[in-house]
Amino acid sequence: MMRRWRPVALAVTLVMVGGVALSGSALAQSSGTSSPTGNKIVLRVGVPGDMISPNPLLATNGDDYETLFNAYDLLFNFNPDDLSPSPGLATACNPSADYRTWTCDIRSGVTWSDGQPLTAEDIAFTYRFIETTDENEVFTSYLPYHPTFSVPNATTLIWKSPKPTFAPTIPPWIPILPEHIWKQYEGDGKAARGFANVPAVGSGPFVLTSWDKGQGWTMEANKNYWGGAPAIDEIQYIVYDSQEAMVQALKSGQVDFTDNLNPTLFNSLVGQPNIGTVKGTASTFTNLAFNFGGQGPDATNNPVLKDLNIRRAIAMGIDKQSIVDKVWQGDAQVGSVVTLPSRPQWFYTPTDVQSQAYDPAAANTLLDQSGYASKDPSGIRLDKNGQPIDLNIITLPEETGSVDTGKLIAAQLQQIGIGVKLQSMSDKQIENNNWYTGDFDAYVWGWGGDPDPNFILSIFITSQCLGWSDGCYSNPTYDKMFAHQSTLLDHTARVAYIQKMQQFIYDQIPEIVLNYPNYLQAYRSDRFTGWKPEPTNGGTYLFGWGNQYQGLQPLAAAESGSSSGIPTVLWVVLGLVAIAVIAFVALSRRRRAEEEA
């Protein structure tokens, strides 16, 4: 029985071992020839997470948006210098004198990737489709006041708004969809969200051809792209759940680009041969957003947070620089306002930035004077009802830095007598459980957003409660200010007024902007050239504001394929070692057999 079992197990195991051992040569073969399969020039992009969906109605994360950017056109592109609108599908949009009617000139001769012509009809369809079908309200805010659209001819789109608006020039971040594909789902949100959209018919420079869920997705060049055929033939996005693996893949040349690295790994790549690093300045900010209640009867927000003095004391009690140093290892700037340093035409420095500078002593004094002087035995201040001030703060493990930031904040607030209970959960969990019910006091998260500040300013208005609002902040003064800025059609006047709004938010502290982290990327400098940072000054090389791939030119290494895999010499050595081992075993068996005979 045992004698029969053994050879079988041995054979099976040897086959497995042999197979696995052979695999090295497989890589040597596959990567030696596959990268430019049939002389295809492939850009391989390592990403730390998968797409959630290539269906625009489900678009959520950066990967989704990057894919949509490549697969579709927007009404306008973004000028890389200042991220202002530049000619895209529309070459220009001109307002009427009352800014209620916009006439857009649409490019002619554009075709969808399936060969159908793209006309102004498709754009009008897309905008109506968003109005009727985007139940999750991903894009509706770009079409304020329920505008109507008409198409006098194939190259003209008329946008009529009941109120004056500059919405077409923000511009609307809405992928233009082919009417002949999406028409069937119009008005049926559930069916529309159920549409897989792989492969996707689009008009962008690349076509989404396949998505291997959890592993990555592939986009092929649209050689008929109206802006000119991309020099590369294909983009492969490869998902790495561990950033360490992604970085090793870059080092060994298995990917040409890695997105969104954490500072530790990023720093390990600086100065490595054939690797370039990209430090994109602040396309996001991280914040500590307070909950003001208003979600409904289940909201558990601590009412003490409605006291501005409490919020100001918290702001003074948080050492933003220590978060930059410890959490971001220096790769961030101290935060202040809700616009971003990378958008210089909007970014604003508050007049009284010293008033919220880190000063725990001043924070304690402020709290003492505001009626929170008494403390419980553990040193936590009591509110006016005699309850200890304990804040339930949520952090998100999948948001880089969130958890560590939360820990620092908890320790720092302890110094000013405010207790913090940290709770760590995923963004989906927050959305599913806490966010809709208002079951939290604050959370550490962040925002990115459009180049135009219209959107980020909108999240603080009362009507955004349970929409994009962080914690149902409500202030009638601010609501009026926001409504007013929407009517400011003169750019200079709007810039000035928006600075005023930023100052207002800074002073009222509905949330504390903690810092502006750098966006860290790395790439193989020996494989492609022609990277186009967006914004031009300090922007990222990919995952920026569209049209970053067309200019990429392969270098010699990309054309000849990667050199990874086990070198032939090593295989010869391994083979010799294997033969030596087998010979040794065979000989020693024979020697033993002789001894025993």
């Binding site: 695999s23 090295g24 596959s30 592993q215």
Partner: protein, 277 residues
């Protein structure tokens, strides 16, 4: 998202019903193999698991075979030559590997074989270059190598130690002395007397550990982005994809039970004393 839409979702998921009723529905669905819809991908959980199960079987299966074979081999060789250079090195190595966390082992392999030598892919299950046939098989094997080696290194130490101590115990038994006295060559004493008896407790332990390997592959699959049950679990926990988590944990529990049963059956097959009882 409007409150109406939230209510709609809650209704679709059956979350607006009373808890006892939800439980009855859950029990009924589970027993009839309906695990619901993944919150994240909107696919049925069965589909999601079916897609992930074979990569895990391939990874865990090959790693188990290799680690069992070499672990038992090293344990036997070590015990038979107790105190030899081989024995002391393999025992030391086993203890080191046994106590090393898998995620860490995976990182080390990544840094050595991917970052430094560029020999193997850093993750995933295939190169996604559309190759077919032998080239595809070889491609998958090259992706399998590192995660498989990580698991092998993680488990081989345990198997070596178990086999070694088990065989040492058996070597002191009288029937081994009987076999020697009969003039049976050393090799045969080991093969037909000592090892078959030492394998009994070892195989039981090995089988028990199989059941846990499925769950244990979570870390390795996450490190190497291997699209199996482990990675599915890892992501489902991150995303709080409850339906997937429930189904996967049920599956893991079933695996433990199934392998315990398999261990009992195998034990009966290997040991005549158990067979008749």
């Amino acid at each position: 998202m409007t409150p109406q839409r939230i209510a709609q979702i809650e209704h679709d998921q059956g979350l607006d019903r009373p808890l006892p009723q939800q439980f009855v529905v859950y029990a009924e669905n589970t027993l009839t193999g309906r695990f619901g819809i993944s919150f994240v991908t909107n696919e049925s959980v069965t589909t999601v698991i079916a897609r992930a199960i074979w990569p895990t079987v391939l990874l865990v299966g090959s790693a188990t075979l290799i680690s069992t074979f070499f672990g038992l081999w090293a344990g036997i060789k070590g015990a038979w030559g107790r105190g030899s250079l081989f024995d002391t090195t393999s025992l030391f190595g086993s203890l080191v590997l046994y106590s090393a966390p898998e995620g860490w082992l995976g990182m080390i392999l990544l840094i050595i074989f991917v970052g430094t030598f560029h020999w193997f892919p850093a993750g995933q299950m295939s190169s996604n270059t559309g190759q077919t046939g032998i080239a595809n098989v070889l491609d998958i094997l090259s992706h399998l190598f590192l995660p498989c080696m990580t698991l092998v290194l993680g488990y081989i130490g345990e198997y070596t130690i178990i086999m070694r101590s088990s065989l040492l115990e058996v070597m002191g038994e009288d029937f081994v002395m009987t076999a020697r006295a009969k003039g049976v060559p050393d090799r045969l004493v080991r093969r037909s007397h000592a090892v078959p008896n030492a394998l009994l407790p070892t195989l039981t332990l090995v089988f028990y550990s199989f059941g846990f390997i499925l769950g244990g592959s979570v870390i390795v699959e996450a490190v190497f982005s291997w699209p199996g049950l482990g990675l599915l679990t890892y992501r489902a926990i991150q995303d709080l994809d409850y339906n997937v988590i429930q189904a996967v944990f049920l599956l893991f529990s079933l695996a433990v039970i199934a392998f315990n049963l398999a261990a009992d059956i195998t034990y009966g097959y290997l040991d005549p004393r158990v067979r008749e009882a």
